[in-house]
Symmetry: C2
Subunit: 352 residues, 2 copies
């Protein structure tokens, strides 16, 4: 079967021919429908993040997938069920406490591998197998956008941590600032806009489809070249929540400047090492005097995946139609990896 | 009556003669027993924090107090009740939502004054008045150390925020690092040591009474001159919780280095502006990849004061005896403000 991945020494994705996997009892064989591409894939391709499975020289990509069960083996799934797979699996050698209590997203890197990212093959192939507990059902009506459950789940997890951090007092957020109008940032805008006034920060000139889309969601575009993060309170208003989706190294510190008292910044990006001069004293004092918080968040657990699948129903259909701009067949998979993608790209392997 | 405070232009506390306050209906007249001195007092005296009441040129100090009700007026208190006062009051002009929902600690600075600190006279006088809702009952058996309810409440609030920030997943902290072996740091050690393994970071040479006291609490002293915050994981172990009680401007960033995955740093210090070169990218990425959090915390609400009063009973009596090293009568009040205090100083106005 066809699979898309990277090889040791390579600098771009390739099409491989690999054996179709055989599901063991308790595993499910899934026929892949669509697999999304995101910033993490680009980091993996560039060698900045993740790694190959042990003793292998290549990695099948893909961690945002939706597919159809073709062989449920001994599991409770049925042939024809639409599913989306979770990404993290226990490190080779067996399960551990994080997985046993259904909190894979809280596992430290040493306790897990990530399919398609770090140490385990992903889902960007015509078929994949998975133990049943790592598959989340998706209503067939939402199969087309089911691969977006994974990026949405990552946001649900971050919002979950952010809300929890404010749960010891009355917190009713009314305003949010999303840092980044890339694919993840626009999803964050879509999730938050029904609940609060949302600003979305980017660095693009109009006309631009991401600006059009966020404005269609009733969010306000903030051009970071005119209004950097720390100026949002004076140019617009302080915000109760920041969702950081860029990985710019300044943002962990600058997000706090944008917060109203008692606000929280949820960080999602992975900037890598970079030294900067910052007013560390003011950062510290602002956190204390105004009861502010910063939470980092990675990956997502089953509750977040289920919440994400619910969002496939509640988010408007027009949003998905405009959001997924680059849906390409397997034989043109290179087009899904840019550089000319518009908002969200995915590779289509098959249809329901 | 005698009161201890500061005057505009002065640089040290003075003894004033002021009128004994008359309680209005709904207020309580309290005869002061003891009032503690802490780092915030020193910041107020130095002019680095807080301020005088509107249209006044002096401020009665004192925000850590315990006293005895002498006139309950129309309130439910009875003459002889031992009480400790909360610090924050609504800004002049009336109450607001933060006070109405009993969350004064979450009020932004513009919505509150702080008695003895910012905009309202404190409790360092022979008598003070307070509306009844701002007085927390203290069992008479614990009257002697009742002035410590306030600093303990500040820690309870910080721990409450820290725990809340980890409440969306299973979090069972086993190790803590307290930054600072000053008065607040040692109280934090006393609260945490019964629950987890505690390290306490300082910069003092042995023999030293703070090191002796923290070791008596079964905590481990870490000399920051040999082992800075970020080296604690390699020299000892990564910790689940950091409680920052120094106000060193590096600590907001360095605390995260000391955390184990899924850990949280609670910040309490007020360093003021200071530019530093930090690896902002690594700070950001570490927060994300390891689901870490930083929470700032200031002041305390009624639930935290009640929890603090409970601690007066559960902490060992020997701890308080060794912790309060400088208990001085009013006529020697200068001695409570240093520079020769040992651990914790308080001014004694009267006895039960």
């Amino acid at each position: 079967m066809r699979a898309i991945g990277i090889e040791s020494g390579g600098d771009r994705p390739r099409l491989f021919d690999v054996d179709r996997p055989e599901p063991a009892p308790g595993e499910v064989l899934v026929r892949t429908l669509r697999v999304g591409v995101d910033g993490t894939d680009h980091e993996v391709i560039a060698g900045d993040h993740g790694g190959f499975p042990a003793d292998e020289e290549r990695l099948v990509l893909g961690h945002e997938a939706v597919g159809v069960v073709v062989d449920p083996t001994t599991t409770d799934f049925e042939r024809g069920d639409v599913v989306t797979p979770m990404v993290r699996r226990p490190s080779p050698g067996g399960t551990n406490a994080y997985f046993e209590r259904a909190e894979p997203d809280m596992a430290p890197p040493s306790a897990c591998v990530e399919r398609g990212i770090d140490g385990a093959h992903g889902f960007m192939s015509e078929y994949f197998t998975s133990p049943a507990p790592f598959l989340i059902p998706v209503p067939e009506a939402h199969a087309a956008w089911g691969f977006l459950a994974e990026p949405i789940s990552v946001l649900e997890k971050a919002l979950d941590l952010a809300r929890a951090s404010r749960s010891s007092f009355t917190w009713e957020p009314e305003t949010a600032l999303v840092l980044g109008n890339g694919a993840l940032g626009l999803l964050a805008v879509a999730l938050l806009a029904p609940e609060m006034d949302v600003y979305c920060l980017g660095r693009r000139d109009r006309p631009d489809p991401t600006i059009d889309l966020l404005e269609s969601l009733d969010a306000t575009y903030v051009d970071a070249r005119e209004t950097p993060v720390g100026k949002v309170p004076t140019a617009h208003e302080p915000v109760d929540l920041v969702v950081e989706a860029t990985g710019a190294p300044r943002h962990a510190v600058e997000s706090v400047d944008a917060l109203a008292p008692n606000g929280v910044a949820a960080l999602l990006g992975l900037p890598g090492s970079q030294e900067l001069t910052v007013d560390a004293g003011r950062f510290h004092e602002d956190l204390v005097m105004h009861n502010k918080a910063v939470v980092g968040s990675v990956n997502a657990g089953p509750t977040h995946f289920h919440a994400a699948v619910d969002r496939l129903e509640t988010l408007p259909a027009w949003f998905f139609d405009r959001y997924v701009t680059d849906l390409v067949p397997v034989d043109r998979f290179e087009a899904a990896f840019g550089p000319d993608t518009t908002i969200k790209a995915a590779v289509e392997f098959d249809t329901v």
